[in-house]
């Protein structure tokens, strides 16, 4: 069994995993970080998006062992130190960018990657970027608005 260690939301963690353990299983089942969701079996929905070494990836489509030594960021790390919502999270709340909330952790992590690469994305660029994040509730309009607002607020 591979022993792995990584940094998750700034904290060092380690564990023993099976070869087949997915990163999302390690986060949810071993570390108890259940904010990262699993919405599909086909790598298409994006509910599981986290950052690995600063890049957004689908945690259901990466082995935990492949993330050995990496810096991982999940939705649990997006709030401010005092527990209040981070800029992108607050924008989702303000603009009604969620209904059931199942897709939201992945949407927020995906948006955070977009905004670190493109500080001022156009509506078209936001919609294209969200190609890998599926939401069955909102119709996307308010998600796009929330990300535009987060960009304007300097997220």
């Amino acid at each position: 069994m591979p022993s792995i260690s990584m940094t998750v939301n700034g904290k060092s963690v380690s564990g023993e995993v099976e070869g087949r353990t997915l990163l999302v299983q390690f986060l949810r089942e071993d570390l108890g970080l259940t904010g990262t969701h699993v919405g599909c079996d086909t790598s298409q929905c994006g509910a599981c998006v986290v950052h690995v070494n600063g890049e957004s990836v689908k945690a259901c489509t990466m082995l935990a062992a492949s993330a050995d030594g990496a810096e991982v960021a999940t939705i649990e790390g997006m709030a401010n130190a005092d527990g209040s919502l981070g800029v992108i999270q607050q924008a989702f709340q303000d603009h009604h960018g969620l209904q059931c909330g199942f897709c939201t952790p992945g949407m927020v992590m995906s948006a955070a990657d977009l905004l670190q690469k493109n500080k001022n994305p156009s509506e078209g660029e936001i919609r294209e970027w969200l190609e890998g994040n599926i939401c069955r509730c909102t119709g996307y309009h308010n998600i796009v608005k929330a990300i535009q607002a987060a960009a304007a607020a300097g997220a």
């Binding site: 070869g19 087949r20 079996d41 790598s43 957004s56 689908k58 489509t61 995906s110 977009l114 190609e131």
Partner: protein, 259 residues
């Protein structure tokens, strides 16, 4: 998923050795292999993660470029050292998270009949290097999911030539994001090449009639009418006739955009 062992060798030689084990399989970015494993469609004994040894760089070379087998689609899309036409191909694959993990080596090893890189590799006349040899694109693609790779052979890099004009046009299948049909047109020292993905039941292939017509007259008017629909993929997303029609439309668009 079935159970398997995991190793991450630090050198290509060690990876080649690890792949000698019975039912060992290479792991690139995992964007095809992990979904396959999750559906229990494969049962490797050990996955050999190439992430610790494969070159992932992108470098310009003789007007074209050399891409490491481990380069992600996102890094090719973002690299100033890759030609614009190749960056556009990489940027059109899947979604941002797939592009952040998926690699050129994995895409070419898999040779999905609707994938994008095979069209660019065949249509540009690129060369694929492995741990053992160099393979010309014309010899590499051998049908749906079939390639010239031997068991345990690792793609270490791809060399794209300099092209005077080139463009890839992809008609997205909106659910999967793969190409319903994609056409790459490239004009370079070797003449004009036209490569088609997503259409044929025998995978990526060159469209000889269009190449011959464009060789003398590189203009949209020269592109022939739709090729025969015989042997063209037909499924719920599009009939064979529809796909054959798209081949000609996308070829014209690619010639127009290649300029």
């Amino acid at each position: 998923m079935y159970s398997f062992d995991y190793v991450k060798p630090g050198s290509i030689d060690e990876a080649v050795a690890a792949l000698q084990a019975e039912d060992a399989q290479a792991l690139g970015g995992g964007q095809t292999l992990i979904p396959t494993l999750r559906q229990r469609l494969a049962q490797p004994s050990v996955l050999v993660d190439l992430g610790g040894c494969l070159d992932a760089g992108v470098a310009s070379q003789d007007g074209g470029c050399r891409i490491g087998g481990g380069a992600t689609h996102a890094s090719v899309a973002a690299s100033a050292d890759a030609p614009k036409w190749l960056r556009a191909v990489a940027d059109g694959i899947g979604d941002p998270q797939v592009r952040n993990r998926g690699t050129i080596g994995g895409s070419l090893a898999n040779n999905d009949p609707a994938s994008d890189y095979p069209a660019a590799v065949l249509g540009s006349g690129a060369e694929i290097s492995t741990n053992a040899r160099t393979i010309a694109a014309d010899d590499y693609f051998q049908g749906m999911f079939e390639t010239a790779l031997n068991e345990g052979e690792i793609i270490t890099g791809v060399t794209f030539p300099k092209l005077e004009a080139a463009n890839y046009q992809k008609f997205d299948q909106p659910a999967s994001r793969f190409a319903l049909v994609g056409v790459f047109v490239g004009k370079g020292a070797g003449g004009v090449r036209v490569a088609v993905t997503g259409a044929s039941e025998s995978g990526v292939h060159r469209w000889a009639d269009a190449e011959a017509a464009l060789a003398g007259n590189f203009s949209t008017d020269a592109v022939p009418g739709a090729p025969s629909a015989d042997g063209v993929i037909s499924d719920l997303h599009g009939s064979a006739e529809y796909r054959a029609h798209l081949v000609a439309v996308l070829t014209r668009r690619a010639v127009a955009a290649a300029g």
